[in-house]
């Protein structure tokens, strides 16, 4: 029997390390477009980390709803940013 709690913990830590790598693009990425995709990549990783937290704390039924809301907000935020900068007509 594999100890799945520890395995989920390890996967979460690896994902959070990748989030820190993405944070470089989100902070220093040249111009606004690179920042948007950096934040989007962080959002997708957070989606998985939230579900893994649910499995670690044994409350998946609660955390899955938070994860759905996070996915929706991430998508809407990306679309809103894209629309805004397309209407403004200048990104660099």
């Amino acid at each position: 029997m594999i100890d799945m709690q520890r395995f989920f913990m390890g996967v979460s830590i690896a994902l959070l390390f990748l989030v820190f790598l993405c944070l470089y693009r989100a902070i220093w990425g040249p111009f606004i477009t690179n920042r948007i995709i950096g934040v989007g990549a962080i959002g997708t990783k957070t989606l998985i980390v939230l579900l893994l937290m649910g499995f670690i704390y044994d409350r998946v039924d609660m955390f899955v709803d938070i994860s759905i809301v996070y996915a929706l907000l991430n998508f809407i935020g990306t679309l809103a940013a894209a629309k805004y900068f397309e209407m403004r007509g200048k990104v660099q």
């Binding site: 799945m4 790598l21 470089y24 948007i36 989007g40 990783k45 998985i48 900068f85 403004r88 990104v91």
Partner: protein
């Protein structure tokens, strides 16, 4: 070998595959030369990674509750997130790249590389 062990092994395989694609997307986001190349790396890599990871977690949840109805419903919700992200991720990628292209971001070509070499 009982059913829980089979479920755990399948979950581990799917999660590690997802982690691999997440790592590939992140390396592409950091290393590729311009905006459109980075978009390509994260847009495709992260979508596949989310699908694989969520599928693995849904399998684990179903095996964890011995396929009782409440656990199956939570698994269906997780699969729903996967389907939603399968539609939403490429849509967001397309929206940002269209906005950038209309705002006049030039795609990176081989000529840029040659110019940089000549400057040096």
């Amino acid at each position: 070998m009982d059913t829980m062990t089979i479920g755990s092994i399948m979950t581990a395989i799917f999660l590690l595959l997802g982690l691999f694609f997440f790592a590939g997307g992140t390396i592409g986001l950091l290393r590729l030369p311009d905006f459109f190349c980075r978009m390509h790396a994260t847009g495709k890599g992260d979508t596949l990674a989310v699908l694989l990871s969520l599928f693995g977690l849904a399998i684990y949840n179903a095996f964890d509750g011995n396929f009782a109805l409440p656990y199956i419903l939570v698994s269906v919700k997780i699969i729903f997130i996967a389907i939603f992200w399968f539609l939403a991720g490429p849509t967001g990628t397309h929206a940002i790249s269209r906005a950038a292209f209309r705002c006049g971001v030039k795609p990176w070509t081989l000529e840029h590389q040659f110019k940089e070499v000549e400057k040096e």
